[in-house]
Amino acid sequence: MNSPILLIIQREFLTRIRKKTFLLMTLLAPVLLAAAMIVPSLLASMPEDDKMILVLDEPSILLPETGTEQFKLEYLNPGEFNLELAKQFLRESDKDALLYIPSGNGWDPDLIKKNILLYGKEDIGIDLQRFIERQLEEKINNQKLIQQGVDPKVVTQTKTQVSVKSFTLGEEDGNDETSATPLKMGLGYISGILIYFFIFFYAVQVMRGVIEEKTSRIVEVIISSVRPRQLMMGKILGIGLVGVVQFLIWVVLSGTIYTVVSTFIYPEIFAQQVSVGTDAPNLSQVDQSNIFNMIYSINFPLVLGGFVFYFFGGYFLYSALFAALGSAIDQEADSQQFMLPVTAPMIIAISTAMNIVQDPNGPIAFWMSMIPLTSPISMMVRIPFGVPVWQMALSASLLVGTFFGVVALAGKIYRVGILMYGKKVTWKELYKWLKY
């Protein structure tokens, strides 16, 4: 137990675990995450206030639409009102908005559509604007069809929606899997974002720890007892361990919550779902069983294993970089100019995640999941879709290999940096340190 690196790991781990903020973060993070997902949909589903809209419809396009529950239309007589009078009327009335449809010269729908105006007492909500636009589009479309001598009803009847059932071809006949593309897209995207936050959060903690030791000036005392690289690795491993514990707590916590909710609070809902998943599909439940087939088609152990591997790989890689960065500066405020180049690959990986979910075996997906600085995120996005084994192996070994290379380089910068005070460091300077 007296091995220095173990002592360092122990200290880094214990001081963080014992902090009140750790407990708070561990318990609150899932709540916050859940809130981040639930609150917007809650807000979106909340009914908006009803709106009353005055309509000055000179060409009588919209008439006799009366609107909906939420958006009620009320017509002004074009014989009595012009735009100025109508605006005046809106100001004095308790109505919310004014829609002005001018007739223009003659009855040309393409001309009319350009000059339609909507005035609101307050800002016009996006919902209201969309509602009006949809109404008008439909009316004008119909008018045009009629002008061309086509009955709008015919058009409506001929509209067709196609929904193709897709399968992933299995090795042999009979085990074709229901294609679960939307689910995989969601899962890939979410895992990518999660691993991004995880890596970033813990790697930054490593940087903070290094800066703390440097600014409190304890670092020289420590490295007169242990090698700088031992201190760096001990810190990285200790904080990584905190990450693992936090992750495990979350897994256990969500497992417990799931069990409690499913056994005690809503047992009937869960029972129903399970029966749908296992029994032969009932007539009315084909769609639901389809979802369960989709879920079963994803290799969850692989996703989880991949997550753990790529979290560690990415975390080690970035935390070594962040440790080097932290050693080079005197206070966190100075970190900005170096942060961006270091985090740029991660940001690129996140911003290409959308392209990858759309084409998980395309060239972007392939290269991004091979380059070690982006692979933890990009590969995580791909894994739910299934990745050829050789690609996984290549990506994993590139990541591990790069990690060792980066640790060697970061260790060199770190060794010099922690003993440098009061110096504004430049990239050139960092490069020089590599050769000290």
Binding site: N2, P4, L7, I8, R11, T15, E212, E213, S216, R217, I218, E220, V221, I222, I223, S224, S225, V226, R227, P228, R415, L419, Y421, K432, K435, Y436
Partner: protein
């Protein structure tokens, strides 16, 4: 105790140490002296194995310095500090364990030191809650707790308050008597004259002079003589450096190329002479002398 042979260290194009040969004798209190930027800290970091020399060797005892020797060295760096958010006791134990002490051993020795320096009450405090003087004591304890054979203090008395300075000087002398070799590194040369018995003067990464303090001061005597007389004497025609008047006598310091036999004779004959001595130069005077004139050849060898 610790000896270096042709140790060099370069940072980029800047030469920090240009071939240092030093020998720090066992049991000495050694003053490693030189102006800021002379290479003192670079050399200390090599002795502590924080950095490796580009070339040259360091010997600890009779063999080359090894990583395990870290446990036998206690180092108080110039840039010192502690983990602010960690409890004092925990921190002292952690640092001691890093030096290879067992938990039990570290605890019993720490308690001893805490009692000796009257600081038992801070054991459970966080470092950020301590006053500066208290933190300095803690820092000192962490340096000596593992009973190092070699103690290295880099600029030990900057930042310490006068009470702690005296306390720590006293403790260092005690540790030296118990057998520890002590290295003081400082640019304030006058501050260590009273405690050091050996010095090494370095400048621009080179050793300029090294040896027993008294021998060096004798060697660099530059014809300064002090007379104490009953009444004030004119000393006409002499190169007078200073006059000091006390009720016990009048002291005059002169500079002379020759031994002032005639003046002594004359003053003795007139019953005026109370005291006479050839004044030893201070370390900073020697340093200035060497910087201006180069090291003095060793005539006695």
């Amino acid at each position: 105790m610790i000896r270096s042979e042709n140790v060099t260290k370069q940072y980029g194009a800047k030469v920090a140490l240009g071939g240092i040969n030093m020998n720090i004798p066992k049991g000495s209190i050694y003053g490693l002296l030189g102006p800021n930027g002379a290479g003192k800290t670079s050399f200390i970091r090599i002795m502590n194995q924080i950095t490796a020399p580009d070339s040259g060797n360091v010997y600890f005892g009779h063999r080359e310095l090894e990583p395990s020797d870290i446990a036998r060295i206690g180092y108080l760096p110039e840039e010192r500090g502690l983990y602010k958010k960690m409890k004092v006791g925990e921190q002292v134990l952690y640092l001691a364990k890093l030096k290879g002490l067992s938990a039990a051993e570290a605890k019993s020795r720490a308690k001893e030191w805490f009692i000796r320096l009257e600081m038992e009450s801070f054991w459970e405090n966080k470092v950020e809650d301590l006053s500066k003087g208290m933190a300095q004591k803690v820092q000192f304890v962490t340096t000596v707790l593992h009973k190092p054979e070699l103690l290295i203090f880099d600029e030990p008395f900057t930042g310490f308050d006068p009470i702690n300075t005296n306390l720590i000087k006293k403790e260092i002398k005690r540790l030296n008597k118990e057998g520890a070799t002590v290295i003081f590194s400082t640019h304030r040369m006058e501050s260590v004259e009273e405690i050091c018995d050996y010095i090494g003067l370095i400048n621009y990464g080179e050793v300029m002079v090294e040896g027993p303090l008294l021998d060096i001061r004798r060697h660099y005597m530059n014809g300064t003589y002090a007379f104490t007389t009953k009444t004030e004497q004119p000393f006409t025609g002499m190169n007078i450096l200073s006059r000091d008047h006390q009720h016990t006598g009048h002291t005059i310091t002169i500079k002379s190329d020759q031994y002032p036999r005639d003046i002594i004779q004359q003053l003795a004959d007139s019953n005026e002479l109370l005291g006479f001595e050839e004044v030893l130069p201070s370390v900073s005077e020697i340093f200035i002398d060497i910087v201006q004139n180069g090291p003095k050849p060793k005539t006695y060898e």
